[in-house]
Amino acid sequence: MATHSPPYDLEGAMSYSPIPAGPHRTSSAAEPHRPKKLLARILFSSFLLLSLVLLVVNQRPAKLDIVETTPSTSVNDFSPARPLTEPPSRGVSMGASEKVFRRVSGGELTFSWSNVMLSWQRTAYHFQPEKNWMNDPNGPLFHKGWYHLFYQYNQESAVWGNITWGHAVSRDLIHWLHLPYAMVPDQWYDVNGVWTGSATILPDGRIMMLYTGDTHDVVQVQCLAYPADLSDPLLLKWVKYQNNPVMVPPPGIGHKDFRDPTTAWLSPDGDKWRITIGSKINTTGISLVYETADFFKYELLDGYLHEVPGTGMWECIDFYPISLTESNGLDTSANGQGIKHVMKVSLDDDKNDYYALGTYDPVKNKWTPDDPELDVGIGLRYDYGKYYASKTFYDQNKKRRILWGWIRETDAEALDILKGWASVQSIPRTVVFDQKTGSNILQWPVEEVESLRSDSLEFNAKLEPGSVVPIEVDSGSQLDIVASFELDKETFEVTTEADIGYDCPTSGGAVNRGMLGPFGIVVLADENLLELTPIYFYIAKGPHGKVETHFCADELRSSVAPDVDKIVYGSKVPVLDGENLTIRSLVDHSIVESFAQGGRRVITSRIYPTTAIGGAARVFLFNNATRASVNASIKIWKMSSANIRPFPLDQL
């Protein structure tokens, strides 16, 4: 037979290709007929096969009426650039598998919120406006006897949008009085949002407020504002610089990747000021540095103060010096011997605040982390719970470095709309270097919060394995709890088996028992423990006897409601020889801020119980370890309300 194939074409495909005549066979008489019949059969079956194949291939994809789609059976061949439910793993096991958003627990989902439950959620001594949405803290400062807080605010609803600058003042960082808005989006350069900014107090007392404006064509620019009247302690009125914006996105920087200017610090020669602004190039987070002599004209310096690949957009950068030897804070311009610099970023990607300690070289305009493995964005977090967009300021009044953090809701947005508000600020925290570990900072609630303490009780107990001990507190919604735990030495020595791989977020919480943990306190619990929030330590003895202590806040059973986050937050915490394990927990209705080892690790939780509220909220001590006995001592203060309300301006 001929060996060349006939040319293929669509039309010709189905047509019969005649077999070129070949040499005539001369064997049996029946044979000449068989090849034709076989060929016919082959062609016929091929035709059938082809038709079948075409029928399958020709299926139209899902109809445009999307409601008809049964999406769960759709082709699922994606390889996510960024995983959805698990943020990319960041350094040492630091809440890496925290689910960013609410989950609805399976099973009985029929549940109704009552007004009593929802109104209980408002806090008594944390800063929050009377209603509506709040996010980032802005421009905190101290001026003429008053602490000022500004904040991102939506006048119109309980979700983010239409951002203005809210304003409040306080004598003591705890008792706040609301003032009129400091700035509203009334210029072409900030009409789409008066976004986050920071204050710089000049040596002559002038205050320069730099903030991000979102322009009428949605470009992010930096703008200058200053008080209309510096002699006004309340700083009621603000003036926007007539030649705003003062900085626009430089070449190579996206119009939507340029926001949150920092407080300024002096350049090495002392004649200029520097600020940094976060951005990104592809997925590398970067920090741009600008220099200015007068806060009106700015020059972009070469290079970046720092950058870390894979961390995405850097929001709300904070950059400040910290003393290695003193317990006071430092002015933002301080540098020299015995001083390190903290670099902090809010990662857009996983909604957490990360920091690292390092060294700042002002001549080279570079900051270098002490430990590149724990670089900013991949290492330590300020807080292992819900905490974002934080910002420090130097409190020249009491010589402290004070940290503010935005705590958003972790319930379904429908509930925020129902209750008419969303978000609180953390209690301001002092920040100092941890001289004992040398590798982290310590955060601690400002001492002024202790002025809210009223009645107290103390209690000591030896907690045997598997014990739960109620504490006689009759109203457990507003408390300051200090608890200390000491493991029975003998059990600790005897336990030799290794217990590796513990990680708060994947641990399953306080129900899962180990030999040396979990043990700690339980807050916002009803007396039957149907709803409860354990805050605990879990000691894991690794191979070769190396001990790891974990500090966790377990929300898994914090509420029977299905539409709130239920996550176990936490991380490892360094514990030095001879140290007891300590927890301080500020309970204030739907927010709990817990500090381990004097502030070495902090976890902020939002809790939304349905029965463990009001007079029904209880506190317990517990030890769910299987081997260790724990000596526990606890002191609890009731906390009064901070009575946060509008400033009585008519009485001025």
Binding site: V104, T110, V159, V218, A414
Partner: protein
């Protein structure tokens, strides 16, 4: 004989291939950005269907694609609201009525809160709020559907499922912007 068989089989393969290509090509060729963006979502086909609906997707950047997806969530949420109203007229029992009321609140939040926040976040250039909004929409849809558990068959399963999945698609698209 073998050669004929082989030729025929090869012919079939060629025909099938050409047809398959033309079948998908006949769906107005998807821009590469649409294809790659959709591959990074949990529902590839659904994503393609959603984006193809808008003529803007041909020249869109990722921000715009995200807005299209958010718009689709809005459309489905509006459908849900309509469906709730229709179902309500049926003289249903107290528990079903309560579940429907919850769904109404839920979809109110999706429209007034989630979609609103997502559109703002994308238009103004702060995408994390857009991600929040779409993630919440998933939860809200589940919350509506879950309200019927143990009460009766949900009359809103299809639309809840649609909102759930399209919101997941939108969220995945938005994550490219963070």
């Amino acid at each position: 004989m073998m050669k004929i068989l082989i030729s025929v089989i090869l012919l079939i393969i060629m025909v099938v291939q050409t047809y398959a290509e033309s079948a998908s090509a006949s769906q107005n060729k998807d821009p590469p950005l649409v294809v790659s963006t959709c591959k990074n979502t949990p529902h590839y086909r659904l994503c393609l269907a959603v984006l193809r609906r808008s003529p803007r997707s041909a020249k869109a950047d990722v921000w715009e694609l995200a807005l299209i997806a958010v718009g689709a969530v809005k459309t489905e949420a509006e459908r849900a609201m309509d469906a709730i109203k229709k179902v309500r007229k049926g003289g249903e029992g107290k528990e079903v009525a309560a579940a429907l009321k919850q769904c109404e609140e839920v979809y109110d939040a999706v429209l007034e809160g989630d979609v609103q926040e997502a559109e703002e976040g994308l238009k103004l250039g702060d995408p994390k709020f857009a991600e929040n909004g779409m993630a919440d929409a998933v939860v809200e849809a589940d919350s509506c559907e879950g309200g019927f558990a143990g009460v009766g068959k949900s009359p809103l399963s299809r639309v809840n499922s649609a909102v759930h999945d399209i919101a997941e698609v939108a969220r995945a698209i938005i994550r490219n912007l963070l």
